[in-house]
Homo-oligomer: 188 residues x 2
DNA sequence: AAATAGCTGTGATGTAGGTCACACTAATGG
DNA sequence: CCATTAGTGTGACCTACATCACAGCTATTT
């Protein structure tokens, strides 16, 4: 299981065995069951989670009780409530599991320690963060410029695996459209 | 003019006079006129711009020629094409000035040098980046969960200055609605 | 000072997509 | 293995918002 994490890191920064073991001491491994909450809105959420196996979603519940999905995360992805994580405040978001899941999580404190002790991990996290920002900006463009069906097609093209594994109802919520509209979008 | 930059930095990391001067050597000062392009889609755009004075927008032009605004930036804000900047590729976005503008820009190369030489600048940029990510996530929530008028109200509340300085036509484009709809949104 | 370009408002009309309601099927958990 | 919960499809209807078209107004530019 650790190899998945090591692979992920080495895509950006090469590590010796020794270095990787050192990195690993800053993480905690944990298993979650389907439907289990990883982050609960209102609670602190000082951890960033690397998914070694499984599938999760982060979501926001609005004032009329509707849920809106901000992110999915499957193998090799990271997920957290970024606001709760970086600003050490209580989480506005929830994170739960769509499948049984195995993660390695790192607290914000451990991350800061790790980065000062091992310079190149700073570089790793910077790369990840900017990649996340760029992806989110692409989604923003999609939301303000494309209509429902185009957004859905782009989603399928961009995340073919996710669009198989995730129920359509949830994809609709991620795309900001009703599940009925997405359901009618099939003929082709 | 340099004080504006110094203030911005010191909100996150304290600097000695000497350190600030060192930081400054990595930036270039430049003036742009209203309507002038700072980044042109298709060209490289290896700079991140700190706005000391003025107002800019970054925008994307879709295949039918419509423009969609990704970001505004006024005094004390940063603006770049993040993809072109961090990945050193040609810009998908444009950036131009809505007013005469004075910026301090830093190339990605200079930024990397600066960060290795002066550790705490790394921390500064990390903070800025994560704050940007969090803001963009808030916008995403707004786009998928709120309707036009709510988004507009939230925009006005969040950016009272911008909503005065920026023509409504452009705000509409930022919010992903037509200028006519926004124009009809006034009575209250 | 005239000319152009940019910004805003408003009516008429069309449509994408929301909401409600119901029915069927597939998981899954006790 | 039965009972419940989650997921999907589809019709009827409604509405938020887009688009088109035109008109007046205010900055900029020459």
């Amino acid at each position: 299981m650790e190899d998945v994490l090591r692979n992920q890191l080495e895509k950006i920064v090469p590590l010796t065995d020794e270095e990787f073991l050192f990195v690993l001491t800053h993480f905690t491994a944990r298993t979650f069951r389907k439907h289990q909450y990883v982050v609960q809105a209102g609670d602190p959420a000082p951890n960033d989670h690397f998914v070694a196996k499984g599938l999760l979603k982060s979501f926001y519940i609005d004032d009329v009780g509707k849920t809106h999905i901000l992110q999915f995360a499957m193998e090799d992805w990271w997920i957290s409530d970024p606001q709760a994580y970086h600003n050490r405040v209580n989480a506005p978001l929830n994170i739960d599991c769509l499948e049984d899941t195995h993660v390695f999580f790192i607290s914000i404190d451990n991350r800061e320690k790790l980065c000062t002790d091992l310079q190149k991990m700073d570089y790793f996290f910077m790369k990840k963060t900017t990649a996340g920002y760029i992806a989110l900006q692409r989604r923003t463009v999609s939301l303000i410029s494309q209509k429902a069906e185009e957004r859905f097609n782009q989603f399928v093209q961009l995340y073919p695996t996710l669009s198989q594994r995730v129920p359509k109802t949830l994809i609709a919520s991620y795309l900001g459209i009703s599940r009925e509209t997405l359901s009618r979008m099939y003929a082709h």
